[in-house]
Symmetry: C2
Subunit: 253 residues, 2 copies
Amino acid sequence: MRQFFLVVDPAAPPVPGDVVGLEPDEAHHLQGVLRGAGDRSWCLVDGYGRRYTARAAGEGRTSRFEILAVAGDPREDAGPRLTLACAVVKGRHFELVVEKAVELGAHRLLPLVTARGVIEPGDGRRARWDALMRAALKQSGRCRLPELAEPLSLPAALAACTEDRLLVGGAPAERDLLGAGRGAGPADATTPAGLALFIGPEGGWTPPEAALLTAAGARPLDLGPFTLRTETAAIAGLVLLRALGGDGGPAGS
Amino acid sequence: MRQFFLVVDPAAPPVPGDVVGLEPDEAHHLQGVLRGAGDRSWCLVDGYGRRYTARAAGEGRTSRFEILAVAGDPREDAGPRLTLACAVVKGRHFELVVEKAVELGAHRLLPLVTARGVIEPGDGRRARWDALMRAALKQSGRCRLPELAEPLSLPAALAACTEDRLLVGGAPAERDLLGAGRGAGPADATTPAGLALFIGPEGGWTPPEAALLTAAGARPLDLGPFTLRTETAAIAGLVLLRALGGDGGPAGS
């Protein structure tokens, strides 16, 4: 079922009986693409994990809708919380990371500023990322947007992941740099509440960065024998973590 | 180590002692980016699985190189042969499929013409795909290009995969349409020589297409609970097949 985005105050989300207004673009999209709101019910999502059933509350090309029902989505809470901490790469490459992180079920996205990474001028970047995330939310059938942090340093990102099991995705050379061994320690017998996947820039981690990751307990995640672009590594890592859950899967091989 | 692309006659590839010529763009790239060929050795790949060590055979900005050594790459022959049969989607979306199929180790790419798919005007499309594949080959450290077929129908694609185990990637709705159950049959106890992953268009398979896939023995491959764009499904499916090898992994769940 087609979804539309509803901007809400997370502290006071709408309840059944409330009448809400869609943003102009979204109302235009609903009316234009679908030839009017008519008498049927619509599906609205707020990005905070709620999905609303709603009905047009005005005549003609209205942007006002009455909330009929509110529900969560158990798919949003299945499995451990997934954090993707990914080096910022140029323009459309990081936009791909942002879009695919939504589709692939990430709960948090931390854009990393790394020594060998690239930071583009920030003008409009955040707005583009937000727009891409909303579009991906609607398309993918999710109802919760990943939290998107402002670009941050590796130490700051690690400090935000102290409750997560840490994994670093990379090619064999990256794994060698990390120096972590195969095999799960005793702590790995339990399924963690969260998994945080760290993906470095095209030029790789510097030795001090790798040392920080190792000191924090990060383990390598095997992304195959070939060299992946940063955005491909981010996508591949999310796919594996999502599929393999908390067991670390093929990590360290 | 940086790789450059060498066009060869696959029936008579160069051997040590031969002098070969790089294509003008490639020679320009080698000379321009790297400030001259100098006296060092270079790495050339031919897309047929061979990697050549070579040295400049002329003065200054030459495009001629002498072959010093030839080798294969065991990574290219590890695991089952991976075929991706993916519905053609619009412009940059299918270009992403082409590029990532190389990075993720696919051996064959079959662009599918499906009932609900989109076929773009073909002018220049093939040339763009070939250029993207070469660029991805060089970047990823591979030395064998996937075979890229001309766009073909689902029956033709299935006829090209009779020796492969067939998997169909999709969201829950796609899997329901296929009607295949969980669990591996006796034939699944052996590792197949090849795995072929079928990915449908945004609009999904039609019932006749799904019936063809089911009749051919295709099993569903779980790509998670959310709706993925065609290109995301193709990438996610390749990642899982590559990581899980021939055991079908989370198929059918």
